[in-house]
């Protein structure tokens, strides 16, 4: 009788632990998606601002061309190529803003300020996303999660290699 009780308790504990693990993993998958959606939205906005800057008076025709190209490339890139494309855009923006010197017109000042704000936010968003992906991959590797297939059909998250420091 005692053996049955012990077995029943063990199964109950295991079931509780598995449901706990599944909940934990589900939360992480969820977070990978929301943090990516957030980051993606911010990066899209950055590309849009970059195009506006390309059309503004800060930019000379050659830089405009370069910037517009980089912005479109960043918008169209797949998740895997995204980090490289975004780094390209960062570079193009950096070259332009460094060489443009003092900006005095109000519209351009607004654009640059908006870009600064956005850059701050993107840094936070990248940190949050990278963290979520790292965690998810770590938890997915756990023995119990693999043998009980707790990850289900959720796709393994792709690492976004873009470091916040690059911005």
């Amino acid at each position: 009788m005692n053996k049955f009780l012990a077995a029943a308790l063990f199964i109950a504990a295991l079931a509780w632990y598995l449901s706990f693990l599944a909940g934990r993993l589900d939360r992480l998958h969820n977070r990978v998606e929301t943090s990516w959606a957030n980051l993606d939205g911010l990066l899209q906005r950055r590309a849009a601002i970059a195009i506006e800057i390309a059309r503004s008076e800060i930019s000379d025709p050659a830089s405009s061309l370069l910037l517009t190209f980089a912005a479109h490339q960043a918008r169209d890139a797949s998740v895997r190529d995204r980090s490289q494309a975004e780094t390209g855009l960062t570079g193009a923006l950096g070259i332009l803003l460094e060489s443009s010197g003092e900006i005095s017109t109000p519209i351009e000042l607004d654009l640059v300020r908006e870009l600064d704000d956005l850059t701050q936010k993107i840094k936070v968003a990248i940190a949050m996303h990278v963290e979520a992906v790292d965690r998810t991959q770590m938890v997915r590797k756990k023995f119990l999660i693999r043998i009980f297939r707790l990850a289900g059909h959720a796709p393994a998250p792709v690492i976004y290699e873009f470091e916040g420091d690059v911005l």
Binding site: R27, R31, N38, V124, A127, D134, R135
Partner: protein, 390 residues
Amino acid sequence: MPLAKKRIGIVCPYGWDTPGGVQSHVGDLAEYLIAQGHFVSVLAPVINEEAIPDYVISAGRPISIPYNGAVARILFGPLAFARVKQWIGNGNFDLLHLHEPAIPSISLLACWASEGPLVGTFHAASTRQKIAFAITPFIEPVIEKLTARIAVSEAARETLQIHLDTDAVVVPNGIYAKRFSDAHTDPRWSGNTIGFMGRFEENRKGLSVLIEALPLIIEKIPDIRVIVAGPGNPATILEDMDPHLRQRFTFLGRISEQDKANFMSSVSIYVAPNTGGESFGIILAEALAGGASVLASDIPAFDSLLGHGKYGSLFQSENAQDLAKRAIELLNNPDLRTAIAKAGREYAQSFDWDVVAERIYDVYEMAMVGHDGVTLSSDSRAWNKLLGRN
């Protein structure tokens, strides 16, 4: 700040009545957010429930336990857990901001009990927490629930990476820089003076290092005086001190915020000989904002706050000879002092609440994306749904 007003719950793990860095950070942040029009509720352990501001809710009386080289007044246990759950359940918050969630406290309980946008701020920096390794497996799944993490300094971020294997965004602690910019020089504290501020009875504040260095400084600068501000009983320090050193000390006790600003702009040099246990060093940021020339020990937090010596002088921690040498260097060279103080003052503006709170709010915004407020995790458990409990 955007127009959308949010309901924000902040959990402070340490007793509200006891002065400390985390408590004042939480208080300042809450007041800033309220001034911006947000609804803020702070849950904290409280000893005297009559002496707390409106926005603070008591979670019960704190208990004192030794932690990180000092006595921490924190709270946990079933009763506290019930209060935390009640606070979250009734609060209807858009976001919870948990301070120091990795120590056994109501912050950890709140993290355990809730679901939704959670932001955690890590204040402590210490590489010697052996206990942390032992409890990591229990804390990890809880800390993992935090949507975003903030560390108050590079040192705190490193501690987090080592002990909990997670990264964080660094947002420094805030100060009211404006309060310090209109300080005036007080003749009682100016002249050849060394300023020290803090709970001087605690060993880690390092007053003993300064006392040891004092005879060496007197040799070169005979009229030097030391002015100590902060709570504590001077007798414990003065008792076993040489009588001729004793007369050079002035103890002010705890001083007001305005006096603090005046103090910083009056003393010749401000010395922070802390030997460790410091994560950010808010007092140094305030000293810089007040226009003091700072001399600090080279512990990681101070080294990084002072820009590796750019905004203040550094001496080798716990080395009285080095302290004396640097202090004499500064005291004998007014031009160097003014130059350092000027650079430090400008730099201190980046710690102003206007800048810091904006950055914290950026993190809030990021964390709230895709979430619909904070709920109790017990609400979403399968068996509770089955049993019709909600």
